[in-house]
């Protein structure tokens, strides 16, 4: 991106915000969820996180070396991608899942399309879906010491009762980073106070999702069911960390609301009518693909253009 020509007249306002700063902020915000995941699932989770991050960073280095480009790992985005991907993996996934996932996210989804800022879909989610389709049995096996059987969301879909309180704290089965709603919300607060994200997309996403549940889930307005749906699965992680990804969200304000609402509806459709209990990653990826269309529809009118003609 920095290779682009900057054509503008002075004076210039210089901001201290750089890509590296924002990415560092995102890493800080992801740490609570990661730490809780390691506490919850033990050392194998830590190993998986480290392997995935290392794979992402190495892939970017090697790709840049082969293509004779400047190495871009210093903007920390590869670390964020690796960390996000690792938080979306089951805790007992073998180490090579992290290696393949990190390499796919960086090389295929990000670098082949031109690197950071040019990728058309979230690299971490693209890699997660790739792994989910490729190695379905590994990626949906959440068995771990102390946790056997289904995730709370799958149990909820099967019609069983779930303990919403433990889902909010995070002592349940699931992927490494998605289980604890509290840890993720702490991270989201860090991002909000740092000004890295705003609430347009998360709120319209979660709001439209709740409305969809009330209308179509068959449970009506039941607070227990809705809170379980909100706390379960990767919804919080997706809404605050992935849907708000700078590169793959719409630029326009109205577009961001539209994007959030589309994500909410898609997630609702996948969770209620889909075969699998979880649908956040597919919803966000589909939303990413719709972003160019959303932006085209919601271009704001420039000052002096449009309005009523006298």
């Amino acid at each position: 991106m920095s290779d682009l020509m900057k054509v503008s007249s002075n004076p210039h306002i210089r901001s201290k915000v750089t890509t590296g700063n924002i990415m560092f902020c995102v890493i800080l915000a992801l740490l609570p969820a990661a730490v809780f995941g390691i506490y919850n699932f033990g050392i194998p989770a830590l190993v998986l996180i480290l392997v995935t991050v290392a794979s992402a960073v190495l892939s970017e280095t090697i790709f840049n070396k082969i293509c004779k480009k400047k190495n871009t790992i210093s903007d920390l985005s590869a670390i964020v991608t690796g960390l996000l991907l690792a938080l979306n993996l089951p805790p007992r996934a073998p180490w090579w899942i992290g290696v393949i996932g990190g390499a796919f996210a960086i090389i295929v989804v990000k670098m082949l399309f031109g690197g950071l800022g040019q990728n058309f879909m979230n690299p971490a989610l693209g890699a997660r879906c790739f792994l989910l389709i490729s190695f379905t049995s590994i990626m949906t096996n959440f068995e771990c010491d102390g946790y056997t059987g289904a995730t709370p969301l799958a149990a909820l879909k099967a019609g069983e009762n779930v303990d919403t309180m433990s889902m909010i704290i995070g002592k349940t089965a699931g992927t490494i980073g998605e289980t604890s709603m509290i840890a993720i919300l702490i991270g989201a607060c860090i991002l909000l106070f740092a000004g890295a994200i705003d609430l347009k997309i998360p709120f319209s996403y979660l709001g439209s999702f709740v409305v969809f549940l009330v209308l179509f889930s068959g449970h009506g307005f039941s607070p227990a069911y809705i809170s379980a749906q909100l706390a379960g699965g990767g919804l919080m992680l997706g809404a605050f960390f992935m849907a708000t990804d700078y590169v793959t969200r719409p630029i326009t304000k109205r577009g961001q609301y539209v994007y959030g609402i589309i994500l909410g509806i898609l997630t609702g459709i996948f969770r209620i009518y889909g075969a699998s209990a979880e649908g956040v990653s597919y919803a966000i990826i589909l939303g990413n693909l719709l972003v160019p269309l959303i932006e085209r529809v919601t271009i704001p009118k420039s000052f002096g253009k449009g309005g009523e003609k006298a």
Binding site: I100, V108, F130, I133, S134, F135, T136, I138
Partner: protein, 309 residues
């Protein structure tokens, strides 16, 4: 460019229908779930291509130009129907695996493309070899894609268990080794795109390196779009300039050279005429300018005289 060997090499390597011309993507992406399927589809298409090229070349002077596409399709469809019945009778397993894609060979754009671009303008024997080469290139490409997809997606190759998967581990010294987990995405539709893109990239890399070493990697003129003005293909024997009638129909090498010379001569003449025309125009303009200047001067003088008076 019309010898059989050249046509074969052109079809298989230089103008490979899948990796270079990017034709026939539908069967390429859809049936290459295994190497056997890819090979079967490729060979079926090869037979149809070679036979239809021969018959279209035979009938090229009889088929009216305005209805040539329907005529081609009738010829191609007859061969496809014959082949479909043969496959159903003698290779029912392949027939089942390929399914709807056998009748769809009729509208495969490689076959129609070769008929339109080559067979309808060239003698029978080169057309046959052109069809054979293109078909073999298609077969090789499909088999490669199918092999990679089968290997990564199921751990097999041509139906044999190759990789040490959990179901079929290697036995080494009494120990079972099973480190390979098949990535089922490669058997599904997205895998076809991944593998096709990677193989095309490798092919481009090889081509670029070959050009660096000074090998002749250029296409042999045959993917002709009749648009010679915008065609970058150098050394094309059918290259037409201003005379649009000259290139049609089968032309032998000697005749081509003659027509080229004639065309070149015509071109030069035309250029000369243009140049001389331009020179004359410029001269006229200069003259008129000079005249107008002189007139202006005279007018000024007259005005000055009037003022003085």
């Amino acid at each position: 460019m019309n010898s059989g060997k050249e046509r074969l090499i052109n079809g298989i390597v230089k103008e490979n229908p899948t990796f270079v011309l990017m034709l026939g993507m539908c069967p390429t992406l859809a049936v290459t779930t295994s190497a056997i399927n890819g090979l079967g589809m490729g060979l079926t298409t090869t037979v149809v291509l070679a036979l239809s090229n021969v018959f279209i070349a035979l009938l090229r002077n009889i088929i009216p130009d305005k209805v040539r596409i329907p005529a081609f399709i009738v010829i191609i469809a007859s061969f496809v129907t014959m082949l479909e019945l043969l496959l159903e009778g003698f290779l029912p397993s392949l027939y089942g695996a390929l399914g709807i894609y056998i009748p769809l060979i009729v509208v495969n754009c490689i076959i129609l493309g070769r008929a339109e671009a080559y067979a309808s303008k060239n003698p029978v024997l080169p057309s046959f070899f052109d069809g054979l080469g293109m078909g073999l290139g298609f077969s090789i490409a499909l088999t490669c894609i199918g092999a990679v997809r089968e290997l990564l997606g199921a751990g097999d190759l041509f139906g044999f268990h190759v990789m040490p998967t959990a179901d079929h581990p290697w036995l080494l010294g009494g120990k079972e080794i099973a480190f390979f987990t098949p990535a089922s995405i490669f058997v599904l539709a997205p895998g076809a795109f991944f593998v096709l893109a990677c193989l095309t990239a490798i092919q481009n890399k090889v081509k670029l390196e070959g050009e660096k070493k000074g090998k002749d990697m250029s296409k042999i003129g045959s993917g002709c779009s009749e648009d010679c003005m915008n065609c970058g293909e150098e050394g094309c024997g059918r290259r037409k300039f201003y005379d649009t009638e000259a290139g049609e129909g089968p032309v032998g090498k000697k005749e081509e050279q003659k027509t080229e010379q004639k065309e070149a001569g015509q071109q030069k003449k035309e250029e000369k005429q243009k140049e001389t025309g331009q020179q004359k125009k410029e001269e006229k303009q200069k003259e008129s300018q000079n005249r107008s200047k002189e007139e202006n001067k005279e007018e000024k003088k007259e005005r000055e005289e009037i003022n003085n008076e």
